[in-house]
Point group: C2
Chain length 200, copies 2
């Protein structure tokens, strides 16, 4: 099997962060990137995301990415889950962010008693075509608040992790990295990748 590991993303910042975190601890992992990712703005993604739970969405995308690239692949999916909505909008939050913005993400909850929410990051890893993807999840609990901090990165400005008093968008990068749903999922993925027998 090829030693090449492909991270399926069109986002250069994500690639950089993933490379850094996965290479932590003195075991560098070689990663290429491939832009097959399903983007809301790109109307004809090469791998459309399916509807379903975050796990189903992630596994399906990773499975297809491995088939398309012929390589070991990792994919990433993010969801924002409202307790009042039993986990919705979940994987569909990107459409809500796009259509109603930060204010709308708050307004959805006006009629409900709790603003509790959790951010969920799902990395999927497939060792190659035909190999069932393995899921690594990271979850951070918090609540939905009126936007504070930089508004450039998705819904970061309206999500305040419990006990921090700050939204993701207000936090220094180092603070966010240590408690984010993304970091927690990546740590699990890193441990898994570093436990694999190295190829010589």
């Amino acid at each position: 099997m090829s030693k090449r590991l492909v991270f399926v993303t069109g986002n250069a910042n994500k690639l950089k962060e993933v490379k850094e975190i996965l290479s932590d601890g003195g075991h560098p992992i070689e990663i290429d990137s491939h832009s097959l990712d399903s983007k809301y703005h790109g109307r004809h993604p090469q791998i459309p995301e399916i509807q379903g739970t975050t796990q189903e969405v992630a596994k399906d995308k990773c499975r297809r990415a491995a088939e398309l690239t012929g390589s070991a692949c990792i994919t990433e999916d993010t969801a924002l889950c409202y307790a009042a909505l039993n986990g919705l909008p979940g994987p569909y939050v990107k459409y809500f962010m796009q259509e109603v913005g930060h204010e709308g993400l708050n307004n959805l909850l006006v009629g409900f008693p709790t603003k509790a929410a959790w951010a969920l990051c799902t990395f999927a890893y497939s060792s190659g075509p035909g190999s069932e993807p393995i899921i690594f999840e990271g979850r951070t609990d918090g609540s939905i608040v009126p936007a504070r901090g930089s508004k450039v990165f998705g819904w970061d400005a309206v999500f305040e992790p419990n006990g921090t008093g700050l939204t993701y968008a207000e936090m220094p990068k180092e603070q966010k990295n240590k408690l984010s749903h993304r970091y927690k999922a990546l740590e699990k993925l890193r441990a898994h990748l570093q436990s694999l027998p190295s190829e010589t």
Copy 2:
């Protein structure tokens, strides 16, 4: 090409209604059904629905259904689109109905100034494998109201078409059939199918 036309549904009532409407006007159309449909409760549908606009979801499903069955196919997709949410939840309404019910579908709008909504039905028709699906849409405008009438059929009890004073769930079947988003889409599909040259 086979004369067989397959309606992709696991729902016997839908099949019956589609058969009746499509055979209106003295031009019977032979329809089989095939249960490949993506159901929320069935965790492993044979054709997962993709994320995207209702048109993208419908075309993708119809294209795959034609490939899987080797036949001319029709598929159906339904969306409930809130004006305040720029058309969301749209194709994802089934998940919201499942997770928060009729009350939740109302509560989502408490923080927004308009309860206006439209019901959208999308039939897709492919003449066979490799043939690009054609879309037939029916739209009915109305508003989201507290549930009235029978609560057994999806979100019918919370959708009141404009000018009727009744929810879908309160209407006699004949009244609903003449103004429903579903009927409007089916009428367009019927006209198209009946305009095709018959095979002798």
